[in-house]
């Protein structure tokens, strides 16, 4: 198992990938991607039991991950490539014509690691719940992991899925809510001020934990706690506080970098704050 220091170094590399990918095509979503880099690195390099190659889209006998907030595709692609699903060099094709790394993740071009299209928000939790039920039917004891945005919880379908998962005791699924309190038009509090997620999910019958998704000691405590709650009759949510733009000082504390790319100068400034890992840039 890689040490925490090694994983933190990998996370820094993932953040480099994110800003370089977005900069190269002058489009994409760096803010949420940077905020979730620690969590996805932790999942793919430590907590999930999964096999990158050969890729089995059905995910039989292994943990599967669903990115419901598909716009943070840069972090998803980087972590997939860095964990061996497809060549790291392919990150350079992000959002370019004929790429498998579409603006939002899709199965359409056969990119290894992606099991469902996402981008139109609110759908991933339902899909993940279906796969969790399939695993139960097939007596497959592995775990379904899901990441949703917090703004995404404004979608009605999320609450349909929240009710359905609790009613059906979908206790083989861990859903992290990226509680970065930002969305395109401003803070979630200003756009739709209903953000007491812990009490809401508990009221719907879920087991809920809180975590700082940019603090490795918090993740190393809470993720195993979430895993310990598996199989106890309740779906599990982690309300995961993150900072949009984490790791790049001028992108933090604002929603401005939700869907905006850095220019050349800004890229250089970002990369100066993000040490390259031993694996190196793509």
């Amino acid at each position: 198992m890689r040490s925490t220091v090694e994983l933190q170094s990998m996370t820094s590399q993932v953040r480099r990938d994110i800003v370089r990918m977005v900069h190269a095509v002058n489009s994409g979503h760096p803010g949420g991607s940077l905020g979730c880099a620690d969590y996805l690195t932790a999942l793919f390099f430590r907590y999930m039991k999964h096999q990158a190659s050969p890729f089995d889209i059905q995910g039989k006998g292994q943990d599967v991950f669903f990115l419901s907030n598909g716009h943070i595709s840069p972090v998803f692609y980087s972590v997939l490539a860095r964990s061996g699903y497809f060549p790291v060099s392919e990150l350079a094709s992000f959002r370019k014509i004929n790429t498998r790394l579409q603006g939002h993740p899709t199965t359409h071009e056969g990119l290894e690691g992606v099991r469902i299209a996402s981008g139109s928000l609110g759908q991933g939790l339902s899909v993940a719940t279906g796969t969790a039920l399939q695993k139960k039917l097939d007596k497959d004891s592995s775990t379904v992991w899901v990441l949703t945005g917090d703004g995404e919880l404004q979608e009605g379908q999320i609450w349909e899925a929240v009710m359905f998962a609790a009613h059906n005791k979908v206790d083989n699924m861990i859903v992290a809510i990226d509680f970065n309190k930002q969305q395109i038009d401003g803070s979630t509090q200003d756009v739709m001020g209903l953000t007491e997620w812990t009490s809401k999910f508990e009221a719907f019958g879920w087991a809920v934990l809180e975590m700082d998704g940019n603090d490795w000691s918090s993740m190393e405590t809470v993720i195993p706690q979430a895993q310990a709650l598996l199989g106890q009759g309740k779906p599990i949510a982690i309300v995961m506080k993150t900072e949009m733009g984490q790791g790049v000082d001028y992108m933090m504390g604002t929603h401005a970098w939700h869907g905006k790319a850095p220019n050349d100068e800004q890229l250089a400034k970002a990369l100066a704050q993000l040490p390259e890992s031993s694996d190196g840039d793509y």
Partner: protein, 318 residues
Amino acid sequence: MKHYEILGNKDTRSGFGAGLLEAGQSNENVVALCADLTGSLMMNAFQDAFPTRFFQAGIAEANMMGVAAGLALGGKVPFTGTFANFSTGRVYDQIRQSIAYSHKNVKIAASHAGLTLGEDGATHQILEDIGLMKMLPGMTVINPCDYNQTKAATKAIAEMAGPVYLRFGRPKWPVFISEDTPFIIGKALMLNEGTDVSIFATGHMVWKAIEAGHILAAKGISAEIINIHTIKPLDEEAVLASARKTGCVVSCEEHQRHGGLGDSIAQLLARTEPKPMEFVAVNDSFGESGKPEELLVKYHLDTPDIVEAALKAIARKG
């Protein structure tokens, strides 16, 4: 004109229920979901036989479509069940992204389609669903004509890979397709060979087309009647061969003229060999409450409307 004996009077949704049960018996991966309309969709037999493979979704169709996609992703063959309106318009984006674009093996079973839903009125009488579904890349669209064909279609789609929209209805309707008629997805079914006009019909309108064929025969007109149960992919070869032979075409469907079967046929003919064509379909309006037969008369989807359309098409041959 070939005579078709009425073998019974049954609703197509019961054909779906019977087909689903048999599909479930022959394939353990078949699972079903229903959004609080289990009785209406005739899914009780499946639910009773396979309680662990049946999921009550509640009145939450968007989630049902996503859950179905997730079940399919792991190798299951999910059938979703609700009214056609809630199977399409209400959940279009979920079907588009999580099922069609993601190419998930979900079977969308849609009952109570069209005007023949009857008394519930226009909120529930969707007449746009064929158009919505056939526009989605990779979606197969099927609208069977009677109980036996619906049952056979249900079993057939369980065995094919890929998303399918299966549309059927509420009322009891004449059963005339024999039980042993094979259902071949994408293959038009010749019901009566003729020489003067080609009548392409789908769903409940197929029986009306047969009735129209008898009236036309009495007038000395030989109508070719073809059942297009699979609207997409369209059996282009069969449509073209018939249109070429008779020289004029009539389409019949319980759907809007815009976006329906007629549109698909007209587009094919326009691209290849244009022919005079008439459309028996709802002409850019919503439905309303009433008895199914009353509604078909009022909205010009009845047997005399097909006869009239055929005569008009023949006259336009020039």
